[in-house]
Amino acid sequence: MKRFLILLAVMVGVSIGAAQTTITYWQYDFATRVDAMNQLIAQFEAANPGIKVVQETFPYDGYQQQVAASLPAGQGADVAQLFYGWLPTWQRAGYVIPLPEQYFDAAELDANFAPLVQAAKVDGTWYGLPTAVRSLALFYNADMLAAAGYDAPPATWEEFVEIAQALTVKQGNRFVQVGYGFAPTGQDHHLVREVLVRQFGGAPYSDDYSTVTYADQAGIDALTFYTDWVTKYGFTVPEFVPGNNGYRDGFRQLENIAMIVDGSFAIGDVKKVGFNWGVTELPVRAENGIQSNFGSFFMNALTPNAAKDPAKLEAAAKFLQFVTSDEAMKLWLDVVGELPASRSLISDPALAADPVYGPFVRALDYAHATVFVDETGQRDTMVDAINEVVLQGTSPADALKAAAAEEQLLLDANR
């Protein structure tokens, strides 16, 4: 009898095991994001006993490489997180599948998600959804500003230049402290393209992002202004603090950088610093001048692995729905500090009035999400244009014209 019972228990156990669907979720390794996702997975599994979610993470720098190599072998993620700018390259090579219509209603998504999230579509088809969106703002070290006699952050670029110059300290030919953390490879290439070009009265691209239009006078003025921070005003230098995230390290840890432009995703880490800090909307050229910002997001998408069998596809779709639901967005805001991607949550007045989230939320109203075709390549062309000016002494006009021609080739080749 005892044996029979054991056998029965084993059989029941096996059949329960067989009914369970396991899906794999991939994202890059970032402590708060991993933590938030673990909490979401626990909630999801509790609500869906038949589904198990395994989270696997990789260092940011090797993340795309893991994806590139694993999926063709039928391994790895069923649901993967990707930067929206990578979507075109991933989609072209078949690494993501369209959101299945039986689980996702396109019209509903259009209505529920912030307008910026439209960039998760390719040719009108939804390929994924974000939990959070991000925009840029100016972080500043309030102690440093106060020590120099400034009790408020800059509202205009003129004030920004003045404060940054006042906070720059040199010893002989070498900088000891800089007013601004120059980071063309960080967020500054977006700052030039989507913020400064527009503030100077231009547009970086045609409305459908098929033509590069920044190589006009407005664009040249924008690049001149930005590179002047190094070449004319001298309150910053390239690679002031060496390393992967030098501008952040200098601001947060070494405390030798007074101001940086960074995304809302940096909030979680900046909160840990030991000095008084603040964050403010990106400066404008003059009071009531044109405001602009760069909006972006990481999205969650289904891979071809998820489409291998219907049970898996259903589980993966359910999980994707859950991690992009309003509840998940609230948790993500608390744990990671990133702004919710849904229209209803982002329009919460309390959020817009928050001293930390406020500047980012308000910026979403006037933010543009560049429609990339090859984010890496397009980033490199702007970074090279900036480097041409500050490292090689090329005129901003020539550098920008070369960049525009090169970027246009990328746009043409990938459409």
Binding site: G94, A183, E239, L391
Partner: protein, 322 residues
């Protein structure tokens, strides 16, 4: 193999044949490894270079030589491939010559010391076993314009000579990795420094093979240290030099880690001045998901390494007998 009376007599293999068979049997394992994990992927990557890339093999379209034409166009327009190939030439000249010559000289010197022999050898070998990422990170800080030890030294030096009333001897802080002109040389120096230990070991091994009586005889005949090196050590080291040259050439042509890590946010920069073929290939494959094009680049890299190695073998290998 036993044979006994009454059993049909089998043909006996000679001892040498049997030994050879055993040797082949054991060699089969590495051979299989080589075939499956080296040669087969190489053939596969040749095949990939003729197809567009897609996760689903059914959707990979044959496009013939299009990627090769694209490589040519990129090269002709002085794009990134051109920069990578140009940089490879500079790396080759700097790194290979630097490694082999400094490695040989260090080995000869290390071979002639008697005190702390082991310690010195360990010190020279240590960089070789340090991970490239750690090396790149530390050197990145040393090269830092504002915080690096090199510019600290230059600025102290400038203060010193200025105080002496010799300001014309002062040297400005250098941009190093942030200068498109200096970055490649700076990276090459790191690679030479890191690979030196390996070269030293190779040359030390080679030096052990040079008969001591020959050196002693030359000494008695009145040859000085330089003459002994130039007329005895150097010619007899020729096979080692050839080996070291080829190994360092191949590793230089495949350079990746150091370049990728030393300027992480602008890999191969600034302005493509440190880009290598391997890094270019990596960016195409794993940042742009253009695996077909990247495969075509690996085929090019393979062809380059093959040709250079064959030329080196032809030019440098000569028998030296005394």
């Amino acid at each position: 193999m036993r044979s006994s009376h009454g059993a049909p007599r089998r043909r006996r293999l000679s001892l040498t044949t049997r030994e050879a068979l055993w040797a082949y049997a054991f060699l089969l394992v590495p051979l299989a490894f080589f075939l499956f994990f080296r040669l087969w992927p190489a053939v596969q990557s040749l095949k990939l270079s003729f197809f567009t890339w897609h996760v689903d093999p059914e959707q990979r379209n044959f496009i013939g030589l299009q990627y090769y034409r694209e490589m040519y166009a990129n090269f002709a327009a002085k794009g990134d491939l051109f920069k990578a190939l140009r940089n490879m030439l500079y790396y080759f000249l700097l790194v290979v010559f630097g490694q082999v010559s400094i490695g040989m000289i260090s080995a000869v010197l290390l071979n002639s010391i008697t005190w702390f022999k082991g310690l010195f050898r360990a010190i020279y070998f240590a960089p070789y076993v340090t991970p490239a990422a750690a090396v790149a990170w530390v050197w990145g800080w040393m090269y830092s314009v504002n915080f690096g030890i090199f510019n600290k030294f230059l600025s102290d030096w400038s203060d010193f000579v200025t105080n002496l009333g010799l300001p014309w001897l002062a040297i400005d802080p250098q941009p190093f990795l942030t200068s498109p002109k200096q970055a490649l040389i700076a990276v090459a120096a790191v690679v030479i420094w890191q690979q030196l230990g390996f070269q030293v070991v190779i040359f030390l091994a080679g030096l052990q093979g040079i008969p001591r009586p020959m050196q002693e005889a030359a000494s008695i005949d009145g040859a000085n240290g330089w003459q002994r090196f130039w007329h005895i050590t150097f010619p007899l080291l020729n096979p080692v030099i050839v080996f070291s040259l080829i190994i360092s050439t191949i590793s230089t042509l495949q350079m990746f880690d150091q370049v990728q890590n030393i300027n992480f946010t602008d890999q191969g920069g600034p302005l493509g001045s440190t880009l290598t073929i391997a890094l270019y290939m990596y960016e195409q494959a794993f940042q742009k998901f253009r695996i077909g094009y990247a495969a075509a680049v690996t085929v090019l890299l393979f062809a380059i390494i093959l040709v250079i190695t064959l030329v080196q073998l032809k030019v440098t290998q000569r028998k030296v007998e005394y």
